[in-house]
């Protein structure tokens, strides 16, 4: 299938802007295209596509816009069909998705349809010109190990890329590119699933993924009251509250607050982990934080291996003092 060295990025748009992950994908694609010698193509699907110029600023040479009412909601069948069509047209060597709701769903199906190679949740992709191979690194075993997978450059490779693992390029207004509107519609007879209800929680304020300061609580908080307490701390610091899987499973906090392998991947400047043991599946989602502060009553908790600053204490004692001191300032 791969007869070119082109890269196809499957972009995602939120509130008429490229998502941060899409910008990261374009940055990674730009650098890889520099080594591989192909072009960076961006596909945007939506009822009306607005971010094409932004795509060019962030590194796309060509932007394919597929405007169809069917894309006003996510539909896996429609997206699989359309990405397949575009791949057949461009014949890229590499197709990149984010490890998002869309990527998790569509990338495996696309790879199955096109007999492509597939690596999910990559944190690094390298082109080895000598052997004409792509080398992709991905966390495995819940983050306890890393695997490097090779693909021969003759085969189309489909990858999903973990958020925050590659840097975007600075957007450039003067970058030139072509916008191509995709006219082949989606064959509605091939749509097998229908969305009947959507219950999305819109986050007010800063999103967890974009937060500079995160105060996160774990099973050690013991209940929703604990989250009220660390919520005060977060508010005082201008931060956002996150959680491990335990409080989510216990219904103390909503699912959208979960951080880790199966939750959000974060990279704040400051991550304060309170009552969190530091299991691999959680730690894998916070490794890129600049500074990690941990409060746990168990001196042997794994989180201390991973933190820059640690305090062994009961959070019920420590957090009110933190709140009081931070309020008073210096």
């Amino acid at each position: 299938m791969a007869e070119s060295k082109h890269i196809l990025v499957i972009g995602e748009v939120e509130r008429e802007k490229l998502t941060s992950t899409s910008r990261e994908l374009l940055g990674g694609a730009r650098r890889l295209a520099g080594q591989m010698g192909g072009m960076v193509n961006l596909l945007l699907m939506g009822p009306a596509v607005s971010a094409a110029q932004e795509g060019i600023q962030y590194g796309a040479d060509k932007v394919y816009t597929a405007q169809d009412a069917i894309f006003s909601e996510f539909n896996s069948d429609a997206c699989t069909q359309l990405t397949g069509e575009i791949c057949r047209k461009i014949r890229p060597m590499l197709c990149l998705f984010g490890q998002s709701d869309l990527g998790r769903d569509v990338a495996p199906r696309l790879a199955a349809k096109l007999d492509a190679g597939l690596c999910m949740d990559c944190v690094e992709i390298i082109f080895d010109a000598g052997s004409n191979r792509l080398l992709q690194t991905r966390p495995v075993f819940g983050g306890k190990a890393m695997a490097v997978m090779a693909t021969s450059g003759d085969r189309l490779q489909v990858n999903t890329v973990r958020a925050k693992s590659i840097a975007p390029e600075e957007p450039k207004d003067e970058r030139k590119g072509e916008v191509i509107s995709v006219t082949d519609g989606v064959d509605a007879s091939l749509i097998k699933v229908k969305l009947v209800e959507s219950k999305r929680m819109e986050t007010e304020g800063v999103k967890l993924e974009d937060a500079k300061i995160i105060v996160a609580g774990g099973g050690g908080l013991g209940g929703p009251e604990g989250f009220e307490m660390i919520g005060q701390l977060a508010k005082l610091m201008g931060g956002v509250v996150g959680a491990t899987r335990v409080p989510v499973d216990e219904n103390w906090v909503p699912l959208s607050m979960e951080i880790g392998q199966t939750g959000k991947i974060v990279s704040p400047d400051l991550y304060i982990a309170i009552g969190i043991s530091g299991a691999a599946q959680h730690v894998t989602g916070i490794v890129n934080s600049k500074k990690i502060v941990a409060i746990n009553k168990d001196p042997d908790a794994n989180i201390f291996r991973m933190a820059d600053v640690g305090l062994v204490a009961d959070y019920k004692v420590a957090v009110p003092i933190l709140i009081e001191k931070l309020k008073a300032g210096r």
Binding site: V140, A147, M237, R245, V312, K325
Partner: protein, 265 residues
Amino acid sequence: MEIIVCIKPVLDPDMPPAKFSVDSKTNRVIPPEGMPLVINPYDALAVEAALKIKEAKGGKITAVTLAGSFATEILRKAVAMGADEAININDPAFEDSDTFSTAFILAEVVKKIGKYDLVLCGRQAADWDNGVVGSVIAEYLNIPSVIRAKGIVVTNGKLRVERVVANGFEIYEMGLPAVVTLSSEMGQARIPTGWGIINAVKKKIPVWTCSDLGLDPVRVGKTAARNSLVKLYTFSPSRSCEMITGKDDKEAAGKLAEKIMDIKP
């Protein structure tokens, strides 16, 4: 309802990182002593989901595993939970199959079973964390799929699946048969009863081989793999941690507040 549940035996994902090690020559995980493989936790949820549907609608649950002869023990756990039948898919030709070959073989197993309304999988196997096999089985069978489900309801021959997305939930409707993969938000899998365990010990578990399935060995196993593993290494992120102490918790917490004010962006 005829339900097929795909189960993968995995290293216990809750094992401490210190017990996890890799043979760097062979790029294989060294199985820690005294730690038997467990049912992939998401696959136990798939069994649970199947049992709930069976309780509501009646029917039969068949658990299938593609791993090795040892996997019979894992299948017995599914039977102990309440699965009616189990099949061990095992052949040397299947060794080192990638996710596509695995899905291809499992799709062929589903076809050979013949009667089915639902194929249930876990959202991902907690070893290689791919999250691929369910979707690809659906592609190979050309039937609808929904991944990361929290709940499944069957009404009037239609399937309603509530799935987990980054910021909430979505409900999808589709016809049968279909593939659904289960996520942890579905809740907890049941613990087998004593009667279930006794039943499982007696259960006859057939083995299906490559030739039973009529498959060309070239299409499966290592030769068919689309990506090759070139390196596997343990990853344990660590930083040097400055521990804050004081004459009591109060003083220490006060010092931590100072420290946080220093590093606060």
